[in-house]
């Protein structure tokens, strides 16, 4: 049962990677990266149950936190051209 879930999560991971490689725009790649992050988080949780080591749930939590921070940071960079450095903003508005 957990093995079936792990295999289907691996398939989902592979499909998301295909989209990340094909993706015509950078946003497609970011969406694929976000999906990879979500699936990897679930994969870590399933792996914890599969091997009987519940410590993996902590790894899943940390992975999720890092995933969202990474996505938002890269998005901000591609939307504004920088990471919102206040020095840059002040110069630009002069």
């Amino acid at each position: 049962m957990f093995a079936a879930a792990a295999i289907s999560l691996l398939v989902a991971l592979a499909l998301a990677l295909v989209r990340a490689m094909l993706g015509p725009s950078v946003f497609d790649r970011l969406q694929a990266a976000n999906t990879v992050g979500t699936v990897a988080m679930l994969m870590l949780a399933v792996l914890g149950f599969l091997t009987g080591r519940p410590e993996f749930l902590d790894l899943a939590l940390i992975y999720g936190l890092l995933n969202v921070v990474g996505t938002i940071a890269v998005l901000k960079f591609f939307r504004h051209g920088d990471l919102g450095d206040p020095g840059h903003e002040a110069e630009r508005h002069q």
Partner: protein, 108 residues
């Protein structure tokens, strides 16, 4: 009783895995960025929720359940935020959605 819980959690986990594959398949097959985002939502909501629910049933009342609930809560808060930011950024960058060709109104 425990057999019922086992079977139920098995159904939830297998269904969650299937929904994750469906979402990823949509991510590959859909024609443009906005529809792909819509398809990826399946993985983030139903797939993740069913998998976590199945694992909660399997774990019973323990610390693992609390952690699984925290993972679910994290997913529920962060994924819509990321999707919203992604769509806004794509719109701000001028990525147009793929629309159906304009219907000719003069034709009957």
């Amino acid at each position: 009783m425990s057999v019922i819980v086992d079977v139920l959690s098995g159904i939830f986990i297998v269904a969650g895995g299937a929904f994750c594959v469906v979402g990823a398949l949509g991510l590959v097959r859909m024609p443009d960025f906005y529809t792909r985002m819509h398809a990826a939502g399946v993985t983030d909501t139903v797939g993740a929720a069913l998998l976590l629910l199945g694992m909660i049933l399997q774990a019973g009342f323990s610390m693992a359940t609390v952690k699984l609930l925290m993972i679910g809560l994290l997913l529920l808060f962060t994924n819509p935020t990321a999707t919203h930011a992604l769509a806004k950024a794509a719109r701000a960058r001028g990525l147009e959605p793929l629309l159906a060709p304009e219907e000719d109104a003069s034709k009957p």
